[in-house]
C-alpha cells in the first residue's frame, strides 16, 4: 500500500504529511536561466549522486525522465502529489527520482535544481524530515550545494532561502468549513507564518474540504524548531476540527446524518460522477466514517478511491480521453468501492 492510501496517526483529520527541501548546485544557473546543456548536467549529476551512491536507498529509487512522458501521464503523477504542477511544463528538461514506495520523490530542475520531498501517511512530519535530511546528506556527498554562510541554502525564490524547508500537511476540515470558522483560522494562521489553501479547488474554497497547511518562513530558525512550531499549530487545528465536528453533530444530529448518508447513497448508486461531485460526496462519506456513522467502509479504502478517480489517473488506467466516458467510469469505480 502506498502512503497516500494508508491511514496514519490522526488519520481522521490529517491525510498525509510532507517535508520538502530545496537545494541548488553551486555555480550553475537555476533551471529557468540555465541553458539546455546545464540543465542536462544537473540531471546527470543529481541522478548519479543518488543512484551511484552505493547506499541502500539507491536500490529502491528509480529515475524517470519527464521529457519523454505524455502530459496526462505527468498529470497523473501530479494528482498523487509526487510532482508539482510546475513540473508539467516541458520547456525545461526535468527529471524525477522516485522511491518504490513513493515516500520519497526528488524533483530535478523544478524551480530549483533539487527538491527533495519526503511523504508519509497521517500526521508524521518527523519521519518525513528524517528521510529528507538523510537524502540531503547523501546527495551532498557528491555535489556541492549553493550555500551562503549568512543566508543559508540559496534558492531561486528568496521566500525559500535559508533552510529551504517547507513542511506541509494535507487535512480534511469539514467541521471548520461547514461552521464557517475556517476563514478566521486562515487569517490567524497567516499571521503566524502558516499558509492554508484549498487542495482541489481555488483559493480558500476547497473542494471536498481538503486543505494543505504549510509553513512560510524558511530563514532564521533551525529546521527542528520550524518543525516543532509548525507541529504545534497543526495539533491545535486538529483539536479544533474534532471539537467542531462534535458540536455540529450534537447541534443537529439528524440533519448532519441525513446529509452524510445521502452522499453515501449517491456514491453507491450514481451512474455518472464528475470529479468535483465525487470529491464533495467522498468528503461527506469521509466525515461519516470519522464520526462513526458509516461503519462498513474504512478510511484506507476511501483514500484509495479518492486518488483512483482523479481525471488523469482514470485516463492513464483506462485510456478514456472523453470527460463523459470518464464520468461513467468514475461512477462505476466508486459504486464498486462503496458496496464492497
Amino acid at each position: 500500500m502506498m502512503w497516500y492510501t494508508e491511514c496514519g496517526k490522526d488519520g481522521d483529520v490529517v491525510l498525509s504529511s510532507r517535508v520538502r527541501l530545496a537545494r541548488n548546485l553551486k555555480g550553475i544557473p537555476f533551471p529557468a536561466r540555465a541553458d539546455e546543456k546545464q540543465q542536462e548536467e544537473v540531471l546527470t549529476r543529481c541522478k548519479n549522486a543518488v543512484l551511484e551512491s552505493g547506499s541502500t536507498l539507491a536500490d529502491t529509487v528509480k529515475y524517470i525522465d519527464l521529457s519523454v512522458m505524455q502530459d496526462y501521464e505527468k498529470q497523473a503523477i501530479a494528482e498523487r502529489h509526487l510532482i508539482s504542477p510546475q513540473m508539467m511544463d516541458s520547456r525545461i528538461k526535468r527529471g524525477l527520482l522516485l522511491s518504490d514506495d513513493n515516500r520519497l520523490s526528488i524533483l530535478l530542475n523544478e524551480e530549483d535544481h533539487i527538491r527533495i520531498q519526503a511523504m508519509a501517511a497521517g500526521f508524521d512530519l518527523d519521519a518525513c524530515f528524517s528521510l529528507a535530511d538523510r537524502v540531503d546528506d547523501l546527495i551532498e556527498e557528491s555535489v556541492e550545494y549553493a550555500f551562503d554562510e549568512q543566508i543559508g541554502y540559496l534558492t531561486c525564490c528568496p521566500t525559500n532561502a535559508g533552510t529551504g524547508m517547507r513542511a506541509s500537511v494535507m487535512v480534511h476540515l469539514p467541521g471548520l468549513t461547514i461552521s464557517g470558522t475556517i476563514n478566521q483560522m486562515i487569517d490567524s494562521l497567516s499571521q503566524l507564518g502558516v499558509t492554508v489553501r484549498g487542495l482541489f479547488g481555488e483559493g480558500s474554497k476547497a473542494t471536498g474540504y481538503l486543505y494543505q497547511i504549510s509553513n512560510q518562513l524558511t530563514l532564521g530558525a533551525a529546521e527542528e524548531d520550524i518543525l516543532e512550531k509548525f507541529k504545534q499549530i497543526v495539533e491545535s487545528v486538529i483539536g479544533k476540527e474534532r471539537e467542531m465536528r462534535t458540536r455540529l453533530y450534537n447541534t443537529d444530529k439528524y440533519k448532519l446524518e441525513d446529509r452524510l448518508m445521502r452522499s453515501y447513497g449517491i456514491l453507491s448508486h450514481a451512474v455518472l460522477l464528475s470529479s468535483e461531485e465525487a470529491m464533495k460526496r467522498l468528503s461527506d462519506v469521509r466525515m461519516g466514517i470519522e464520526l462513526g456513522i458509516i461503519k462498513n467502509i474504512k478510511l484506507e479504502q476511501l483514500n484509495e478511491v479518492t486518488y483512483e478517480i482523479l481525471p488523469a489517473n482514470i485516463m492513464l488506467k483506462y485510456n478514456l480521453p472523453d470527460a463523459n466516458e470518464r464520468d461513467l467510469k468514475r461512477a462505476e469505480i466508486v459504486r464498486e468501492r462503496m458496496c464492497s
Binding site: 555555480g27 556541492e144 551562503d148 543559508g152 534558492t155 528568496p158 521566500t159 530563514l219 532564521g220 529546521e223
Partner: protein, 173 residues
Amino acid sequence: MKCQKCHEREATSHITQIINGKKQEMHLCTQCAAESPEFQEMKAGLDFGIGGFLGGIFGGKPKTLAGETTLQNNACPVCGMLFEDFLNDGRLGCGDCYSTFRNRLERPLRQIHGTCEHVGKVPSRMGGALKRDRKLAKLESELNAAVLKQEFEKAAELRDKIKELKDKDDKEA
C-alpha cells in the same frame, strides 16, 4: 453550468465577445479560462505570481552604492541577471546572485522572514568550524532556556556538552 472546454468543472468565468456585430458567449472554469487566449490577452503585462508582489517589497528606490555607476553594469557574473529582472519576477538566476545583489537583497529578506541570518543545517563539506560554531550557539541557547525554566539537571548536561565541544576545539587548534 459546466465549463465548455473541459466539461468537468463548474464554469465560473463568463465571457461575452462581440465580433463584427455577432455576439459570442463563453462559459469556462477558472482553470480553462486561465489558459484561454482572451484571458491571456487581458492579463498580459500584469504579474499575479509571487514576483508581481515581491517587486513591490524589493523595489522601492534602488540605492546606488559606491563603485556602482549604473545598474546595468551590475549584472550577475555567473548568470547575467540584472536586479531589474529580479524585480520583475521575484526570482533569482543563480546562487551567485545572492552575493552580487547582497546589499539590495538583505532588506527584502528581512521583510519576508524577519531576519536574514540562517541558523539551520550546514552542508557537511562547509567545513567543521562553521558547523561547530552553530552547534555551540544552539547548545548555549538551550542552556539559557533550561536555566530560565530552572531545569538544572538539563542545564548541567548542556554545560558539560559545551565544555566538551570547546575543549575539542582547543585541542585541534
